[in-house]
């Protein structure tokens, strides 16, 4: 049963995912919201440990529990709250409506099963097909992702493929049910630089062809520039800036985004001296005080940043930022 009225394909509202550890509660994702429309490509950017992957595992409800738990928020897929779905309804969405590609293709495919087994089972799980039909479809998908002699290689085990080829297999598997959303969690991080571009091009090409919306998680701003329509910048479990890709690159509002863009090495500009980098370390997200988590590293830090988390300000044209720089001084909390 689906509600017909919904604004976006996927709406994440105030999502909070916490992890209980011996050292305290880790607020890996702390109140983030974003929308994803049909056919759109959304980039989620941030440093390691900022909560990018946890966000997307939360969407699939794949958080290892314990210690992790989604403690608040709502995730609507086609108007349906994923967080409230019973297990069997959830399984119809996983792999069928929303599918995922993981970071490390070396470990994400089952080493004990042939590619054919793993692909056919995915297709037959969600579509009424005979084994033969599903096998034909799998071979077709493998050909689509550029695996040569697919009708033979489908009987290979994962270890008989190279890393890049395995990621192609993962993509073929993820798209085999024509999912509406593809979540790609750093799909090229574990691969050779030479393969990275090929894999990204492949994702773009296939998802455009199939009109699949994509959430691309990455720490590489260069990748985002080439692929995404919109970008969310995450820092310490929160989205600090959200904008259309071009707008973000032209007018980065948050000092963190600014720093990220500056630290991308560029060949087309003469560089003198060292590469730019943001000073300091990302904060420990255990028991974070109510302040802007970026303030110790921020070169525009003000007094208010150290005591209060900034509200999200709309800068127009879907450009949102959470930073005190854009808040009128009259609105500063006084204490």
């Amino acid at each position: 049963m689906k509600t017909k009225q919904y604004k976006s394909l996927l709406e994440v509202k105030d999502l909070q995912t916490y992890f209980k550890t011996d050292a305290g509660i880790v607020k890996a994702v702390d109140g983030i919201s974003f929308d994803l429309n049909e056919g759109e490509t959304l980039g989620i950017v941030g440093e390691s440990g900022c909560g990018k992957s946890v966000t997307n595992l939360s969407i699939m409800r794949l958080i290892q529990s314990p210690p992790g738990k989604i403690v608040g928020g709502e995730i609507f897929f086609e108007g349906l709250d994923i967080l409230k779905l019973p297990e069997n309804e959830l399984r119809k969405i996983r792999g069928n409506e929303i599918s995922m590609i993981f970071q490390d293709p070396m470990t994400s495919l089952n080493p004990f099963l042939k590619i054919s087994t793993q692909m056919v089972e995915t297709i037959r799980l969600h579509q009424k097909m005979s084994h033969k039909e599903a096998l034909a479809k799998s071979i077709q998908m493998l050909q689509l992702v550029g695996i040569p002699v697919a009708e033979e290689k489908i009987y290979y085990y994962p270890h008989q493929f190279s890393g890049g080829m395995r990621q192609r297999v993962m993509i073929a598997m993820a798209l085999s049910c024509e999912a509406k959303i593809l979540i790609a969690d750093e799909p090229t991080t574990a691969l050779d630089v030479t393969i990275q571009a090929q894999i990204l091009d492949l994702i773009v090409e296939l998802t455009k062809k199939m009109n699949t919306a994509v959430i691309l998680i990455t720490h590489d701003l260069g990748v985002v520039a080439g692929m995404c329509d919109n970008v969310c910048v995450m820092y310490a479990g929160k989205i600090v800036e959200k904008a259309k890709t071009m707008e973000l690159y032209k007018n980065p509002a948050h000092p963190y985004t600014e720093g990220l863009i500056k630290s991308v090495p560029r060949l087309d500009r003469a560089h003198k001296g060292r590469l730019f980098s943001i000073e300091g370390q990302p904060p420990n997200v255990i028991d974070l005080p109510d302040c802007c988590p970026f303030h110790p590293r921020c070169h525009k830090v003000m007094d208010v940043c150290q005591h209060h988390y900034p509200p999200t300000k709309d800068l127009g044209d879907q450009h949102e930022v959470a930073c005190w720089l854009y808040v009128d001084e009259k609105e500063f909390p006084n204490d």
Partner: protein, 309 residues
């Protein structure tokens, strides 16, 4: 693969020769001899016996003669039991130990894997705590306690089963049950713990997350995706465990009066019965080597990444 099997089987021969050689010399290095009793024998008698068994020949000559006999399949006379030779004692008792061992290890494998899996799937639930508590009991309580407790409950109090004996004593299969359970307990415990930790590790791996992301049911994930990975460490434990259990346990044989091979391991050492010691060592080694070989084969069947050429 066939080539590999042949090569491995050929490799067994030098392994066994080394084992026999080492045990042959080690037992003779130990102080005392097979005919040193508490009371010294008269000089003449001793010399006669020693001459009969060639104990005073140079060690290398003895070794050569023994090896020649072993290669013909003759493990020599026992120095202590005068009625028969070593071959007879082994062939008479080994089948009993094997029957008991195979039954015991089957029990421990079936129940160990089952309870280990249940514990892993329902981690931190009462099922987990119960089966791990049982496993701790199995690991820490010795056989000579478990055996008599079972005898007391099932034989003395309930009267369902005989306290002891073997097929020849007339109770047939009933006599096997209690000793098999006793013997199974320790391995059950180890296998249960091994299965639990192995399964937990497998369930946390990336490819299981992939299977979940595909929308698979937990039951099919466990049986189709997690099973093979879980079984690998258990298979490698089972090889030596199997060799150990089918060569008998002196404790269980004593408690239940079973004519098995286990008692010869202990008694031959007490008696410094050189030929019998080396004889049972050979039997154990052959079984162990075969088991390890089978483990390697099963490994390659389970894990496609392992291939032998």
């Amino acid at each position: 693969m066939t080539k590999y099997i042949i090569r491995r089987l050929l490799g067994v021969i030098p392994t066994l020769l080394v084992i026999i050689t080492i045990s042959f010399f080690i037992v003779r290095v130990a102080p005392g001899g097979p005919f040193d009793g508490e009371r010294a024998l008269p000089e003449v008698v001793k010399r006669n016996i020693e001459a009969k068994y060639h104990i005073n020949d140079p060690l290398l000559v003895q070794y050569g003669r023994y090896m020649f006999d072993v290669l013909r399949g003759d493990l020599g006379p026992s120095y202590r039991y005068k009625d028969h030779d070593v071959n007879f004692y082994i062939f008479e008792s080994l089948p009993n130990s094997m029957v008991l061992g195979v039954i015991a290890i089957s029990i421990s494998v079936i129940f160990g894997i089952l309870s280990g899996m249940l514990a892993a799937i329902h981690q931190n639930s009462w099922i987990d705590y119960l089966s791990m508590a049982l496993a701790v009991v199995g690991i820490s309580v010795p056989l000579f306690v478990i055996g008599p407790v079972l005898q007391y409950v099932f034989a003395m109090k309930l009267g369902w089963l005989p306290t002891s004996g073997w097929f020849s004593t007339g109770d047939g299969w009933k006599t096997v049950i209690l000793p098999a359970l006793t013997l199974a307990f320790a391995d059950f415990a180890t296998i249960a713990r091994l299965t639990r930790s192995s399964m937990l590790e497998t369930l946390r791996s990336d490819y299981i997350r992939t299977a979940k992301a595909k929308g698979m049911k937990s039951s099919s994930i466990i049986f189709k995706h997690a099973m093979k990975g879980t079984m690998l460490p258990i298979v490698s434990y089972l090889g030596p465990a199997f060799a150990g259990i089918i060569t008998g346990s002196v404790v269980v044989e004593q408690v239940f009066r079973i004519p098995g091979l286990g008692k010869f391991f202990v008694q031959s050492s007490f008696n410094r019965d050189y030929t019998l010691i080396v004889g049972v060592v050979i039997v154990y080694s052959v079984i162990l080597v075969i088991m390890n070989f089978l483990v390697d084969i099963v490994y390659s069947l389970l894990d496609p990444r392992i291939t032998y050429t």
